[in-house]
């Protein structure tokens, strides 16, 4: 056995790589190193990257997502930099000087030699010289540290505060969105006469303004800032404008542009541009040999670029040069598509119709808040540019068409809807579809026609298209489908790459052939090892056919972790536990028992929408002990983890209610006990209301039952969730026995014929003939399968056993409940919790980071 790492080449080795020093650790620097590592297969370069910020290179474009709960770690760009032994990343290590004569950079007092040097120092936020711009409570919006400080300030000042964002450009609106999202009453101040003056025209600006204002953000345009004033506590309190007016402000964010970080270059005697930036030639080379500048710090073709796209292009140029090529910067694509404050804004090509003779075609709907403009050549055929505000869905299709013939009346591209339908896949192969990663339509087609990609995930992995901002994905998919169709591939109903059948077909196969193990099923009817799609489907089918415990050897490896450990995985890797409370009816003793268990195991408790109690934060190895207590107190599994019957919700009905006409609780208890444990293509929920007032919200359930004075009305196909649906009337005034028989058959028919993860509503919708046809099958028995369905349900009811009680009685199964097989008593040492509103919850990434810095563990429970 070999256990040593390859030894590093010694210093006098003639094959020793040359040394590249990269100054700066932003997105462009990251791209450069990543591209070099990809293409320098001969190992000609070793890289030292010096980054002033303490964070590894992160996605600055996505900075605002920090406020949507993304942790700084989540913004970090792919880890390729760390994993290569020839790439050293020095975080929190600024370069303080460069010497182009001795070819060294000064780092922490040492002089480090380079064979090639890349300046990728980026920009810093520009704060205009207004009085008070440095008061406590003023911020810029550029780095993770900036947004963390801003968030902390707002949190400390508490709710109901007001804020001003100076600058109504792209960054200003991002900052306004962040403040608005933090509950700050926000005003945006812009010097120009409209928002985003660099990207959108007057019409777009006013549409944008209307939408932004409708969200409750105040917009002041043509307004110059004069001063920031402090309150008596010395902190920022108000903002004064050139016309003498003021607004209150507990926080002020300056988003007034950036300035290149060119001071190292200046001190080293490199040539700087008129408005700053290190001047480089088309090969990104500065005046000094082997010294390059890329990204926002580079002044190329006479100007600097504050966008990541041109920076990436420069990075690619430098990599080519480092490897002996002669690439040149082709010019920048300034197209942008963003979502600011939830509003889509896109601008591309000649957005201001500056080309001689160009025509503008506009469409505006002030009511909906949409503005679209295309700039076309004087014969209205060639697309030159455009502005889209409020609905930028056409962007992905339009941007690659720049300079090409539109092929139809330009108006057709602007009208609402149907844009996608008009995109025929007839893009020239050279059209740049993904501008983040420079992927052309041709390479996407090739990945399908030659690369064998047959789904979006494969195309993304192969071409990197759509892996950054994702805005081009609809177009990538259109191109992919077009190419697949050309190749004669029809989109099949195959479950996944391992089975060519739909779930319903597999159900029939398994049920007819009598195969009962996954190995046999995949061996005879599938290929490979299976995956996270087909394995749980087979497990569910086997389970519906009543073949044993979910943890039995053959089935164990098919189950999703939720089914496998019979609990619901939560974000930190612990589980939640839900005992069954049939119909939501529970005795005081039962409530106390659940409460004691929660208290003793330190579980967070919450009442669910299904009238039961969810206990959160149970570590894997504690589940058996928790369930031992629950089972002893008379509870059983609630199957909250399964694609199975969840709950039968009920109102209190005639038991107590003065309007109730039937015993809804009694029926709901009977139904829940009858269908508990029934595995299905998706979760199933039922509801029973005791009168037409419908307090159990039964029509929002897969099967809803509503009492009438003559019996029960039965509804099917309702659900809440992502696409709420009302259940449709299925049968009226049924007696209890007929009702239960009808539900039996409806559920069993669904279990047998629905697709994977298809709830009853879409199943009913896509069933040929809809609800009427299903009624014919289960009520009139037109297919002659009702006896079969009845027998299947009877078998289910007869064979039901509580999975948890069975598990507790089986030492082999219990042995699987450990976090670490080599340390059975240990819990995950990375878990940490904080107390909020009297209960513990997982610490957020920030809270965990704060703990690490402070060196104290926050109330971790052993």
């Amino acid at each position: 056995m070999s256990s040593t790492h390859p030894t590093l080449a010694s210093n006098d080795d003639p094959a020793q790589p040359k040394r590249l020093v990269v100054v700066g650790g932003g997105m462009v620097a990251h791209r450069l190193v990543e591209a070099l590592r990809d293409r320098d297969t001969a190992g000609r370069w070793s890289v030292d990257l010096y980054c002033e910020e303490a964070h590894a290179p992160y996605d600055r474009v996505a900075l605002t997502s920090f406020f949507a709960g993304q942790s700084p770690e989540e913004l970090v760009l792919p880890h390729a930099l760390e994993t290569n032994p020839s790439t050293q990343v020095h975080l929190g290590t600024p370069v303080t000087a460069i010497d182009v004569t001795s070819r060294t950079v000064r780092v922490q007092g040492r002089d480090e030699p380079y064979d090639a040097l890349v300046l990728a120092t980026g920009s810093s936020a520009f704060v205009p010289p207004v009085r008070g711009a440095d008061l406590p409570g003023t911020f810029v919006y550029r780095t993770i540290a900036d947004v963390q400080a801003l968030e902390a300030w707002v949190a400390e000042r508490g709710p109901g505060i007001t804020g001003v964002v100076v600058g109504g450009g792209l960054l200003g609106l991002e900052a306004a969105g962040a403040l608005h999202g933090l509950g700050v009453t926000t005003t945006v101040v812009e010097f120009a006469d409209r928002l985003m003056p660099l990207q959108v025209d007057e019409g777009g600006g006013s549409a944008l303004r209307r939408i932004v204002e409708s969200m409750g953000v105040t917009v002041l345009t043509s307004t110059a800032s004069a001063a920031v004033h402090a309150g008596t506590d010395g902190r920022v309190a108000s903002m004064e404008f050139a016309d003498g007016s003021t607004v209150d402000a507990d926080v002020v964010v300056f988003a007034t542009g950036v300035r290149p970080r060119d001071e190292l270059a200046r001190d080293a005697g490199l040539v700087l541009g008129e408005r700053g930036g290190v001047v480089v030639d088309d090969g990104c080379v500065t005046v000094a040999a082997d010294v390059y500048a890329v990204g926002e710090v580079a002044c190329i073709q006479g100007r600097t670029w504050g966008l990541v796209g041109p920076g990436y292009t420069m990075a690619e140029v430098v990599v080519d040069r480092l490897l002996g090529g002669a690439a040149t910067f082709p010019g920048a694509d300034t197209s942008t598509k963003l979502k600011l404050l939830g509003v889509d804004v896109a601008s591309f090509g000649d957005a201001f119709a500056e080309a001689p003779g160009s025509l503008e075609v506009t469409y505006a709907d002030p009511v909906v808040g949409v503005y679209k403009k295309l700039v076309v050549s004087d014969d209205a055929k060639i697309l030159l540019g455009g502005v889209l505000v409020g609905d930028a869905s056409a962007y992905a299709s339009l941007r690659p068409m720049l300079g090409a013939e539109l092929g139809s009346d330009p108006n057709a591209w602007l009208l609402p809807d149907g844009v996608g339908a008009r995109v025929t896949g007839e893009f020239p192969d050279s059209a740049n579809v993904c501008s983040c990663n420079n992927v052309t339509a041709g390479s996407i087609r090739e990945s399908v026609s030659c690369g064998g990609c047959t789904d979006l995930a494969a195309v993304k992995a192969c071409t990197r298209a759509g892996t950054s901002c994702g805005s081009c994905l609809p177009l990538v998919k259109t191109l992919m489908v077009g190419e697949l169709e050309k190749a004669g591939v029809t989109m099949s109903n195959a479950l996944c790459e391992h089975f060519e059948f739909s779930r319903a077909q597999l159900f029939d196969i398994i049920s007819v052939t009598g195969l009962r193990t996954f190995s046999e099923i995949i061996g005879q009817h599938g290929t490979g090892r299976g995956c996270d799609i087909c394995r749980p489907v087979i497990a569910s089918i086997l389970s519906s056919l009543g073949t044993g415990h979910v943890m039995d050897a053959d089935q164990a490896r098919l189950q999703d972790t939720n089914d496998h450990v019979m609990a619901n995985l939560q974000k930190d890797g612990t589980y939640s536990v839900v005992p069954r409370v049939p119909a939501g009816e529970i005795t005081p003793a039962g409530l106390i028992a659940i409460g004691r268990v929660a208290e003793d195991f330190g579980l967070y408790t919450k009442i669910t929408g299904g009238q039961r109690i969810d206990l959160f934060g149970a570590r894997l190895e504690l589940l058996p002990a928790i369930w031992r207590r629950l089972v002893d107190a008379g509870f059983e599994s609630g199957h909250a983890y399964g694609k199975a019957l969840r709950t039968v919700k009920s109102c209190v009905g005639s038991t107590w209610c003065r309007y109730g006409v039937q015993d809804s609780v009694g029926l709901a208890v009977d139904l829940e006990l009858r269908y508990r444990g029934l595995r299905a293509p998706h979760k199933i929920k039922l509801g029973v209301s005791g009168c037409a007032r419908e307090c159990a919200e039964a029509r929002g359930k897969d099967v809803g039952v509503i009492a009438t004075d003559k019996g029960w009305n039965m509804y099917v196909g309702g659900n809440g969730g992502f696409t709420p649906r009302h259940a449709q009337l299925f049968a009226e005034d049924l007696d209890t026995e007929t009702l239960i028989r009808t539900i039996d058959r409806f559920l069993m028919y669904y279990v047998r014929t629905a697709d994977r993860l298809q709830r009853t509503a879409p199943w009913v919708e896509t069933h040929e003939g809809g609800v009427d046809a299903i009624r014919a099958v289960v009520v009139e028995d037109t297919l002659g399968i009702c006896a079969d369905l009845d027998a299947a349900m009877a078998a289910h009811v007869a064979s039901y056993r509580d999975e948890w009680a069975a598990t507790l009685a089986d030492p082999d199964k219990l042995a699987q409940f450990v976090s670490f097989v080599n340390a059975p008593d240990a819990g995950d040492p990375d878990l940490s919790y904080v107390t909020e509103r009297g209960q513990r919850r997982p610490a957020t990434a920030q809270e965990r980071a704060a703990t690490l810095i402070a060196g104290v563990k926050l109330g971790v429970r052993a």
Binding site: P85, E497, D560, L569, G573, D828
Partner: protein
């Protein structure tokens, strides 16, 4: 630092289902995969990758579903994280559904029914 550590017995590994082990401060997910190699002979591998899901920041990889992508000689064994269903190649740790992140990969060695782990992750590129 660089010696092999005995982490469990082979019998403690359920075929095609993962377990986690704690080695010093590292959490590692082990997967025993049975099947046949390209010559059709019975084969038994133990893969070891990082237990932490880099997308979810939670230690759950060992609880994922084992599977494969590709056919024949191109077949690669995978695990799908239970958190957001990212699929990782067990041999290399790369994420096949979002290549921006990956799992560290560890070497394993089985001798005398004992599974040994080398606690220094194999770099993706050195491998």
């Amino acid at each position: 630092m660089s010696e092999w550590v005995a982490v469990c017995t082979k019998g403690q590994l359920i075929p095609e289902r993962g377990v986690a082990v704690l080695v010093r401060d590292q959490q590692v997910a082990l997967f025993r995969v049975t099947g046949s190699d390209e010559d059709g002979d019975p084969a038994d591998f133990v893969y070891a990758v990082g237990h932490r899901d880099p997308f979810a920041d939670a230690n759950v990889i060992a609880r994922g579903i084992v599977g494969s992508v590709g056919h024949g000689a191109d077949q690669r064994d995978t695990v799908a994280s239970p958190m957001f269903k990212h699929v990782f190649a067990l041999a290399t740790g790369e994420c096949l559904t979002d290549p921006s992140r990956s799992l560290p990969v560890y070497r394993t060695w089985i001798a005398g029914g004992v599974v040994y782990l080398h606690p220094v992750p194999v770099s993706l590129l050195v491998a």
